[in-house]
């Protein structure tokens, strides 16, 4: 269990070399910069210059983002099922990345091409919409073969064009009743109205009569030629537009093949931005800059080497941190324990004066998860899924830790499942004991595990006291506390273990330790009254044993989860067996088996994770750990869109 010790780095160099140092530190990714205190900032470089630089970078980022958005619109990336959870990243080798970065210039012209193509696409789309609107408005008049020049009629005959939404006989009857000579034809119709042409004598009041009946005079928007001709032209144009649209879309799709280039550039500028932002955290004078940061102590020589190899004039030194400083926390453990750091990170990192609980959690989480899942088959599937995911997916260090955590947890279930002979709900050989037949034993095992873990927690807390030089607390506080708890346990359950003969001495020892606890609480208090006042608090300490045992009882959840999973599994198997006998029953049998176990597996791995981690967080941490540390956040190269297959050796 280890929190990585940190050292404070101080680096001074010439101001004009500032960017080179920052770039190198970012590439290293080992230094967390410290913002100088306000009174220390004898800066001459105006924030304005940095602001301008940031503004420039932001513009580039926005532009690249727009390009990526265009690509996403015309050639969307389809995430696979796994990627829906993990997110899509483009994987590149270091050489590929360098190749892309070398094409910065080309990217500028590509950007123009993308934007032009998009602009053209938008224009064509609008044009197509306009044509379609015109076609829609002309369509009802399609049957009118009279060219627009003739719509004004002849010297004596007038033309009336318009639409009506009821039976045309209403119109003709009205005209007839006014004794107006007419000829009419229906030209076309849309959803609601029919379109007509009326021929009447110019001097007759036909128009007024028709209007009075609800006839709406209207004309197609056309100045020359027949409607049909215009429609043919428009349709041809529409096809032409559609073709060019498809062409542009193809062009954009081809351009979208350059997506990795732009993703690489995005990441490049993003990291550039981090670098420029870091300038805010420098002390700058007229010619010299100063930089302070945290470095993991073991990495100091490497940082020094890299900085020296730049060959620029500088002064570098590493100093031990002062006690009152807040040091960022980085955990480092043996390979087996590393995945369990993830659990600690999910809760809270330790403060610098605490111990890293990862190593203490590891075996217990392994066992808790194993008990809660409790089936060798499920455990094996879970571990295999993790292996496959790690092989198929490129994951960041965080994801990898998580996968290893579940891989280990799966093995825990394999271990416990083999002990109790449970493989996909089947008991193929007489195991240590059967969970369904002897649930009491399972409960005892669960509570026993809880007792062991909480004792361990108390021992760790005593060890921390010793480390801090508080021997009295370790012995009189924690040591007596453990004796007292053991005494209580033996008093209550000693007869079960065949210790009746020692019943009396056990009682005395327990009473004695209880007394010691009360007295222990008065330790360090000055004066008789203060000591007397500490007595009720000491009694409260004894009452604390209730809390301790209720924490132990909390481990009964492991029994419940293991049992319900096992019963559920055997029910599924029973159903599968029942359908097996029927004609073509084997199909249903297999479906029931796969679906049932799939569901049970999903719910159980989830429940086992939730409850196993809860036992660590609430019950176990309660004994010695609070957390609240600030994670170590070095200046480094971030990977937003792309993922480098192999980190270059730095």
């Amino acid at each position: 269990m280890a929190i990585v010790p940190m050292k404070r780095l101080e680096l001074y160099g010439l101001k004009r070399h500032k960017a080179s140092y920052l770039a190198e530190l970012q590439r290293l990714g080992l230094v967390e910069l410290i913002k100088p205190a306000a009174e220390e900032r004898w800066t001459t470089e105006s924030g304005e210059a940095i602001g301008r630089e940031l503004h420039h970078i932001d513009e580039r980022l926005a532009e690249i983002n727009r390009v990526l958005a265009v690509f996403e619109r015309f050639a969307p990336q389809r995430p696979s099922f796994v990627e829906q959870f993990a997110g899509i990243k483009t994987v590149l080798t270091w050489e590929e990345q360098q190749n892309y970065l070398a094409r910065q210039e080309e990217a500028v012209s590509l950007t123009d091409r993308v934007f032009n193509a998009e602009k053209e696409h938008t224009w064509l789309e609008q044009e197509k919409l306009r044509v379609e609107r015109e076609i829609a408005s002309l369509q009802p008049w399609a049957g009118l073969d009279l060219p627009a020049e003739d719509w004004k009629g002849s010297k004596r005959v007038a033309l009336l064009l318009g639409s009506f939404d009821r039976d045309p006989r209403l119109l003709t009857e009205a005209l007839a009743s006014e004794q107006i000579a007419y000829y009419f034809r229906q030209i076309g119709a849309d959803d609601h109205r029919q379109y007509y042409i009326f021929f009447c004598l110019r001097e007759s009041p036909a128009e007024e009569v028709l209007r009075a009946k609800g006839f709406l005079p209207a004309r197609p928007e056309l100045t020359t030629g027949a409607v049909g001709e215009r429609l043919a032209v428009l349709t041809a144009k529409k096809q032409e537009l559609a073709a060019s649209l498809a062409q542009i879309e193809d062009k954009l799709k081809t351009l979208a093949e350059e997506r990795p280039l732009f993703q690489t550039l995005y990441d490049f500028w993003y990291n550039q931005r981090l670098q420029v932002e870091a300038k805010n955290q420098l002390l700058t004078g007229k010619a010299v800059f100063g930089l302070e940061g945290w470095v993991p102590a073991a990495q100091c020589t490497r940082v020094e080497q890299v900085i020296t190899s730049l060959g620029l004039p500088h002064y570098i030194r590493f100093i031990d941190p002062q006690t009152e400083e807040e040091i960022p926390i980085l955990l480092e453990n043996k390979k087996v324990v590393t995945p369990f750091e993830k659990l600690v990170e999910a809760f809270s990192l330790p403060r610098q004066d605490e111990v890293d609980p990862s190593a203490a959690i590891a075996p217990f989480f392994f066992l808790c998860y194993g008990m809660a899942l409790g089936d060798a088959g499920y455990g094996l599937v879970l571990s295999l899924i993790c292996v496959v995911l790690m092989a198929k997916l490129t994951m960041g260090p965080g994801g990898r830790k998580m996968a290893w955590l579940f891989f280990a947890s799966g093995l825990g279930a394999v271990f416990f499942g083999l002990l109790t002979s449970s493989i996909f709900g089947y008991s193929l050989y007489p195991g240590f004991f059967n969970v369904i037949e002897k649930p009491q034993l399972l409960l005892i095992v669960a509570l026993g595990l809880g007792l062991v873990q909480l004792y361990t927690g108390t021992v760790i807390s005593a060890w921390i006291s010793i480390k801090n030089g508080d021997w009295a607390e370790a012995v009189l506080g924690k040591g007596v506390w453990l004796l007292f708890l053991t005494g209580l346990l033996l008093t209550a359950g000693g007869s079960q273990l065949g210790l009746e003969a020692y019943a009396q001495p056990t009682k005395y020892v327990t009473a004695l330790t209880a007394g010691l606890l009360v007295i222990g609480n008065a330790r360090g208090k000055k004066g008789f009254w203060a000591k007397l006042k500490a007595v009720p608090g000491g009694l409260l300490n004894i009452y604390g044993s209730v809390g301790f045992f209720s924490d132990v009882l909390s481990y009964s959840r492991l029994m419940a989860l293991g049992l319900s999973g096992a019963v559920m599994g055997s029910i599924i198997n029973l159903f599968a067996e029942m359908t097996w006998g029927a004609p073509v029953g084997w199909i249903f049998s297999i479906i029931i088996f796969l679906f049932g176990h799939g569901l049970n597996f999903g719910l159980n791995i989830l429940g086992a994770y939730v409850h196993s981690s809860r036992l660590q967080y609430l019950e176990f941490f309660n004994t010695f750990f609070t957390g609240g540390g600030r994670p170590f956040a070095p200046l480094k190269l971030e990977q937003i869109n792309i993922f480098l297959k192999k980190e270059r050796e730095v």
Partner: protein, 154 residues
Amino acid sequence: MVLGTLYAFLGVAIAVLFSGIGSAYGVSIAGKLAAGVVTEDPKKFGQTLILTALPGTQGIYGFVIGMLMVFKFAAVGGPIPLEAGIRFLITGLPIGIVGLFSAVLQGKVAAAGIGIVAKRPEESAKGIVYAGLVETYAILAFIISFFLYNSITL
């Protein structure tokens, strides 16, 4: 039908019915919110799914108890004596009733946890733990129901 058998059936029904209703309701509370979060950010499907599934376990516990009881009196075959019948009925009560309330309330906590997923996805593990806390009481009820069931002899 013998009264004992009737009570036994009622016990199974109580265990499965109430815990099932609770779980369905709890999952629906969380599910509605999860769907809302996913419309904004489809990438959060995985994390919200975990929280949405959590209140579903009470239904499983009820089902397991119910199923065990069915197996027990199916094995005997004949009518169930009155006392044993009432014991079955009582066995169904803890997981049925605690399951009902804890699932609904866990659904609400899970929904709040989905709020964490929406706003601070890096802290979503904490939301899962909060929702897990509520389940403790369903688990305790399940254990008691199970031991009550275990003590019935036919």
